[in-house]
Amino acid sequence: MASGWFDRLHPLTKFTWALSLALITYGAANTPITLVLLVLALLTPITVAQPRALYGALWAIFLPIGISLFIIQGLLFPGNASGSLTFYGVTIYTEALSNAGVLLARIMTLGSGLLCVILTTTPARLTQALAERGMPRSIEYILLMALQIIPDMRARAAAILEAQQSRGLVIKSIVSRVQALLPLIGPLVVGALVDIEERAMALELRAFAATSLPTRMAVIVDSRAQRIARTALLLCAVLIIGLRIAGRLPS
């Protein structure tokens, strides 16, 4: 699979990058800093293997959010005073547009940082990276299982619906939906409970309880430069939040 510069970074470096963007953006609450960080966040996808997919996801997520923000803020922002645009008797205020713009910039900075991490890091790599930093195996299992169980449960729910429809279950009215709860939820819950016991056996048979350090098939490369970068990013976040608390940073 093709891999870009950002894709190859250690998962903790990527995560620290996204975390720092969020901390500084919301900690500083400073518009120029927010705009600088937004530019950085929006430039990050250029360094991934598939930037078009990432920009597509950003567009799909933030366009509706942006439109909603501008409409809601334009109409309801309490500081609205100077009207700038009027459509069919509805006035949009300058203060509202400005506030909506800042809010959107913050959300986009936070969101694009997180999206870059999520779309370039497999859950297995992330949990492996955390496990290598001392996270207990039980937590690793819970994290991975939670990610895996969603498609499994969805497939099982679909299979249960098919099985009950084959027995005459029709879901139309509210009453029929209530009646359908037990035949649909019952097998899902019972199945999940039975699975827990059998899955525990499966894990034992796969030596999950072994106390020795497991062999990792994938090698996650870390470097001194990345460790320094992580520390610097976190220190920068702490510093800016500190300045903000001390009142040395204007809004």
Binding site: E162, Q165, L182, V194, L205, R206, S212
Partner: protein, 563 residues
């Protein structure tokens, strides 16, 4: 003298709160490098014995144990599973629940135990590759384990056990979800492993497979070891085996009809069956009767149906199929051929993108699936997706009550369905309190109570012993007597050949064969053999180069119900 690798001495096990022991005073020893089959009816104690050998007690199943047990020089009763794992591992009967849930690909899942046991990467890679090749899942290496079919998941969990390469490998019903070519391949693999020194223990209902690949059989009945002998001594002796392999049945049938070579013993393998047939014997002409009277009207019309899933996978390509009243059809095909997709069109669970599906001449595209239950219904393979009620009676009554029938009619239908599925005495029991095999009959009864004009059964014999299969046949016959059509989707070819009139082969999304069993041509038989294998009668005819329409071929291909 060889030192036994497994020694069991007067072993008994009582599950907590159970009056009767699941295993009672069982003693035997097994030498290394052997394939031993544990056979017996449902609830005979096969799975319990396997679990004891693998060290599951007391870690997972609480109860009282007596006697002693040694596996590879260790005592499983006083060792944890992790301590036993380098010496013995087990594949349990439900493949889907043996997937760890933490691996994102098949290859990772196969090597997961090796990673946890800190094997070097090079060795893990080599073992994973070998295990995937043995179970023919190399092409699935990058797929998510949760995206596999039941048969593929079964191959995966067996591959994961093979990768560990323990001295003792225990498999509980390993063939339940495999297609016939995979079943045969597994037999050869296990024999090769035994030849290399591994000890294989298999609990299995599939007696023909046991006859072909086991060195020795342990026959359990009510938790007791009734017989410990060579396969022939047990399987060919009707008084000892709890169930008869199809090979033995056909041998006896051939003996009765004078087409068996006297010097040949009763066959317990397909090769012996083929060799024992006397192709020179004079045979009276026989005609295979239909299970029911000729059809009077069509129930289902599938017309030029094509279907593509949202992910772009095209599964059906212009399928035409017509099912008449009282028909009994075996719907066969490889995994992924499109059988399940086609089945879901029968009652509107899936809608064709092209073509039409008609029930009693009416296009069903705008009708909700649930509203079609009186006309067409399906018993799915995984019955856990169906069962939810507090009693078997309530479970069976759910369908009829959905049809808005009168209370009297619901009661009549429930009583009938319980009776034909042999569940009357268990009506007030919780569905999960009966053995797994009987749960399948509960699911079948729940569908039978709908009295649909067309009943489809997906892998109905999986995990059933002979007594339960006999009960299933009673239910199917009852449906036929009432001119209901029955469609079987099954890898159990002998069951299909015995209890259906017509075979429909789906090959890559099209109907490749649609013919009566006794009218299959040589070309069709070759295609069927290539795609899914042949029932024993037909396989013997092909092996002995008998013309499909010859008197001897017709005799050998008679449905077992008539033999």
């Amino acid at each position: 003298m060889t030192t036994p690798i497994i020694s069991v001495d007067q072993l008994s096990f009582n599950y907590r709160r159970q009056a009767k022991p699941a295993i009672a005073n069982v003693s035997f020893t097994l030498n290394p490098g052997s394939v031993t089959a544990i056979i017996g009816k449902a609830e005979a104690g096969k799975s319990t014995l396997c679990a004891l050998l693998a060290g599951f007690m007391p870690q997972f199943f609480r109860g009282k144990t007596n006697g002693s047990l040694q596996v590879a020089g260790r005592d499983p009763l006083n060792s944890s599973i992790i301590e036993m794992l380098p010496h013995v591992t087990m594949v349990t009967s439900q493949a889907s629940t043996q997937i760890s849930g933490v691996c994102f690909s098949v290859a990772e899942e196969v090597g997961f135990a090796l990673q946890n046991l800190s094997f070097p990467i090079a060795e893990i890679t080599q073992r994973v590759q070998r295990a995937m090749e043995l179970m023919e899942i190399t092409h699935l290496a990058e797929r998510s384990p949760f995206q596999l079919s039941g048969g593929q998941q079964q191959r995966l969990v067996i591959a994961a056990a093979l990768a560990l390469s323990p001295p003792v490998l225990i498999l509980d019903e390993p063939t339940a979800q495999l297609d016939p070519p995979a079943v045969a391949a597994l037999g050869v693999t296990l024999r090769n492993l035994a030849h290399d020194g591994q000890t294989i223990v298999v609990a299995e209902h599939h007696l023909d497979w046991v006859g072909a690949y086991a060195d020795r059989i342990l026959l359990l009945r009510d938790g007791q070891l009734i017989a410990d002998d060579a396969p022939r001594a047990i399987l060919a002796d009707e008084s000892r085996a709890d169930g008869r392999p199809y090979c033995v049945r056909i041998s006896h049938y051939a003996q009765r009809h004078g087409v068996w070579l006297a010097e040949h013993p009763t066959a317990i393998t397909p090769a012996e069956l083929s060799a024992g047939i006397d192709t020179t014997a004079a045979v009276a002409e026989v005609t295979r009767p239909l299970s029911t009277a000729p059809a009077t009207s069509t129930i289902l019309d599938i017309e030029n149906v094509s279907f593509t899933y949202p992910n772009g996978v095209a599964v059906l390509h212009g399928v035409n199929l017509h099912i008449a009243q009282g028909a009994r059809i075996a719907l066969l095909g490889r995994n992924g051929a499109g059988k399940s997709t086609l089945l879901r069109h029968f009652n509107g669970l899936l809608r064709p993108q092209q073509g039409r599906v008609k029930l009693h001449g009416r296009d069903i595209k705008t009708i909700a699936p649930g509203a079609l239950a009186a006309q067409a219904s399906i018993v799915f393979q995984d019955v856990r997706n169906q069962l939810f009620a507090a009693t078997i009676r309530a479970e069976v009554a759910f369908g009829p009550s959905m049809l808005k029938l009168s209370a009297t009619e619901v009661t009549r239908r429930v009583d009938t369905a319980l009776a034909i599925c042999g569940l009357t005495a268990l009506a007030d029991t919780h569905p999960y309190d009966v053995p797994v095999a009987q749960r399948r009959l509960v699911a079948t009864a729940a569908i039978m109570a709908l009295e649909s004009d067309l009943i489809a059964l997906d892998e109905p014999t999986a995990g059933l012993d002979e007594a339960n299969i006999t009960q299933l046949v009673v239910a199917m016959n009852h449906a036929s007597e009432h001119e209901r059509a029955v469609v079987l989707v099954s890898h159990d070819l002998d069951f299909c050949a015995a209890h259906t009139d017509r075979v429909v082969l789906i090959q890559a999304g099209v109907v490749a064969i649609d013919a009566r069993w006794d009218e299959l041509t040589s070309t069709q038989l070759s295609l069927l053999q290539h795609e899914v294998g042949l029932p024993l009668g037909q396989a013997t005819c092909v092996d002995r180069a008998l013309a499909p329409q010859s008197a001897l071929a017709r005799l050998l291909c008679q449905p077992l119900a008539l033999r």
